[in-house]
């Protein structure tokens, strides 16, 4: 049974079957079932629509990853075995993003082997490639760009990183390129570019203070490492920017479909609404909202009030304790469904034209192909 969200229905099968759609990006707050949704869509695209599909996941739950045959993080797509593609002729491949390795690959592509080795040994590179706020998002974009450029796939389904905020995914490439293009970086690079010996030879008054403070606080070794890293980055600068811009353009193209994934909880819905606003502002193609873990009941049954009152009556007599509990479960379910519909309506009220699909809450977590198939079917039905 589907909750009445009075929004247009999300046509999942239409989307997955459309040969013009080459990329589906699943985005939303952490913990809303994004990875499961991405995997279920990928499976359905392969099994039902015969598409050669790859699912790029960022940080899947262990058992879900295992169910798709992903036992290690090796940064290349692996074919998912044991799925039903005999009739459709589709294929499903899956991969987990290895952020560090993707970064290394980018460096190798843009510079000489000798320079690359220097960069890999630099402690700033080591810190940045594994912890820079946004590296994961940026590398997910990079990997998506690589997969798309290969023209090897009919459809690429991307599960976005579990960011603090869903918006990080859109902002990270821009942040990285702003960082690389920043005034600070240019100040640090000025001597290197003009052939000067000291990295702080061309300084403004405030920068002189800064360099003295830095020397005092952090020590000279750090400055040497930093200047080495910055000079190395500079050599790859153009390439970095170009890649980020290209991927961004692919995301704006009609070949891409963004699906917002949310659970019917206030925070997740708020996040989805922010994200929808951003997608519209950035002219990114927003295709729909997927509401996971919706609780629903058959219409026309007992109301919550009637169930609670009856449970009370039974409790007073002391007979039929099981039925009393069953009625309490029913009432709680109705109230939950009501709350969830109200929360979901906050989104659909603000974005009435965004098609919406929902997936009923499953009693147990999904971690096998059968479970994913069920989710895909529920989503297509909704």
């Amino acid at each position: 049974m589907v909750a009445d969200l009075s929004a247009p229905r999300l046509d999942v099968d239409g989307l997955l079957a459309d040969p013009a759609i080459r990329i589906v990006v699943c985005c939303g707050a952490g913990g809303v079932g994004k990875t499961t949704t991405a995997a279920a869509l990928g499976l359905r695209a392969a099994e039902t629509h015969g598409r050669r599909t790859v699912v790029l996941t960022i940080d899947p739950a262990r058992r879900l990853a295992q169910s798709m045959g992903l036992t290690e993080l090796d940064n290349t797509p692996r074919q998912v075995k044991g799925i039903d593609v005999e009739r459709s002729g589709g294929e499903l491949h899956a991969m987990m993003l290895d952020m560090k390795r993707t970064f290394d690959e980018v460096v190798e592509q843009h510079t000489s082997p000798k320079r690359a080795a220097e960069i890999f040994a630099n402690p700033f590179y080591q810190a940045m490639s594994s912890t820079f706020a946004g590296t994961q998002e940026y590398m997910a974009m990079e990997k998506l760009g690589q997969l798309r450029a290969g023209e090897e796939w009919d459809l690429i389904v991307v599960d976005t990183p579990p960011s603090r905020s869903a918006l990080d995914f859109l902002d990270a490439p821009a942040r990285l390129s702003r960082f690389l293009d920043g005034r600070m970086l240019r100040l640090l690079l000025a001597p290197a570019r003009s052939g000067g010996r000291s990295m702080f030879s061309l300084v403004t008054a405030s920068f002189g203070l800064f360099s003295r403070a830095v020397q005092k606080i952090l020590g000279a070794q750090l400055l040497t490492d930093l200047s080495g890293f910055v000079a190395a980055l500079d050599s790859m600068f153009g390439g970095f920017r170009q890649r980020a811009d290209q991927t961004y353009q692919i995301l704006q193209d009609p070949q891409t479909a963004f699906l917002l994934v949310a659970a019917p909880e206030r925070d997740a819905i708020r996040e989805a609404a922010y994200f929808a606003e951003r997608l519209v502002a950035e002219r990114m193609p927003l295709s729909g909202l997927v509401l996971n873990r919706m609780h629903t009941t058959e219409p026309g049954g007992l109301t919550a009030e009637a169930s609670e009152a009856a449970a009370e009556r039974l409790a007073d007599t002391g007979d039929n304790p099981v039925t009393a509990d069953v009625l309490r479960i029913h009432a709680a379910l109705l109230r939950q469904a009501e709350r969830e519909a109200a929360v979901a309506a906050e989104f659909t009220g603000s974005f009435p034209s965004v098609p919406t699909g929902s997936v009923a809450a499953q009693p147990a977590d999904v971690h096998d192909v059968d479970g994913l198939r069920t989710i895909g079917a529920l989503l297509a039905l909704s």
Binding site: G31, A127, T131, M184, K216
Partner: protein, 316 residues
């Protein structure tokens, strides 16, 4: 004054997977520990303004503001730590930079520094928490307890393991000294990291992972807080259609086959869910850590709800 018997630590770090309600638990803990005329500080570090939302306030500035009063003249103050502000404050304290500090901000130096060395950001954030925890006035501790709404389980190990992260970049100087003093506070009995979870697979897995990671780092673990726990119904663990039919009739309700089937299916789903919850609860119990269960708050979080959670936490 003085510490609370059941929660003797001075720095309470609250983590948990996103969506488990760790910010709510942190706020409730700060309220509970402030009862009886005590003063606590609730700190957030991720720029989410979650505290302001919980207490229905405008976004918090970088200063310690009172957000709630409690019984006996107690109060909760709150602080949203911003890495940039913390760095400027820190530089000013040690180097008297004054206007130069503002100039640094203008050229983007601070953004640059905290971007290129994320470990530095964490040292600044935890450094501020340490300062508040150990601050004293007139020979007394300024705060009876500090509650940190920490990054989620996936990032908390790196966040709290400040020395390791900074040591890779900074070999000498006051930042190193600072990170070492933070590290020693975090590894002392004054600190406890509490992990908030739901009885769902992913949050429980992350709880187990985080506890293993923090233990390996010698950071003391406090409680496991099971949030959103549901009332236990159908203790017998089974239902039959005949039973429901009889019960409905006894309650004067229509007992059509469709109705009985629907209620049976709902009850079965509840039992399946409960079985899974039970096995997850077992996994948590095997950690041998003190556990607290907090009820699901179906009507959202407001001050009375926070007070209810605070009371439950203090009793635990």
């Amino acid at each position: 004054m003085g510490e609370h018997r059941n929660w003797p630590e001075r720095l309470h770090v609250v983590t948990g997977k996103g969506g488990t309600g760790k910010s709510t638990v942190a706020a409730a803990l700060a309220l509970g520990l402030a009862a009886g005329g005590r003063r606590t500080l609730l700190v957030e570090v991720e720029g989410r303004q979650g505290i302001a939302q919980l207490f229905g306030l405008d976004p918090l500035p970088y200063s310690e503001r009172r957000v709630a009063t409690t019984s006996g003249g107690g109060e909760v103050r709150a602080l949203a730590v911003d890495a940039e502000e913390a760095l400027l404050e820190y530089l000013d304290m040690f180097y008297k930079l004054g206007a130069a500090g503002r100039a640094l901000r203008k050229v983007g130096a601070i953004d640059f520094a905290t971007t290129i060395a994320p470990g530095l950001r964490d040292v600044l954030l935890t450094g501020k928490v340490k300062e508040a925890t150990t601050r004293s006035q007139d020979g007394r501790r300024f705060y009876d307890a500090v509650v940190l709404d920490a990054p989620p389980t996936g990032r908390v190990g790196r966040f709290l393991n400040v020395t390791e992260e900074t040591a890779r970049l900074v070999k000498v100087g006051p930042i190193k000294t600072q990170s070492e003093s933070v590290a020693s506070l975090l590894r002392s009995p004054m600190t406890a990291v509490h992990v908030v979870t739901l009885l769902e697979e992913m949050p429980v897995q992350e709880t187990l992972d985080a506890i293993a990671e923090l233990s390996a780092l010698h950071i003391p673990i406090g409680r496991v807080v099971v949030n959103g726990a549901r009332q236990a119904l159908l203790a017998e663990g089974k239902v039959t259609k005949a039973e429901i039919k009889r019960g409905l009739t006894a309650a004067g309700l229509p007992a059509s086959p469709a109705m009985v089937s629907q209620l049976t299916a709902e009850a079965q789903a509840h039992l399946t869910r409960r079985e899974l919850e039970e096995s997850l609860r077992m996994e948590l119990t095997e950690l041998n850590r003190p556990m607290v269960e907090l009820p699901l708050l179906p009507d959202g979080v407001d001050r009375p709800a926070l007070d209810e959670l605070a009371a439950l936490l203090m009793r635990a």
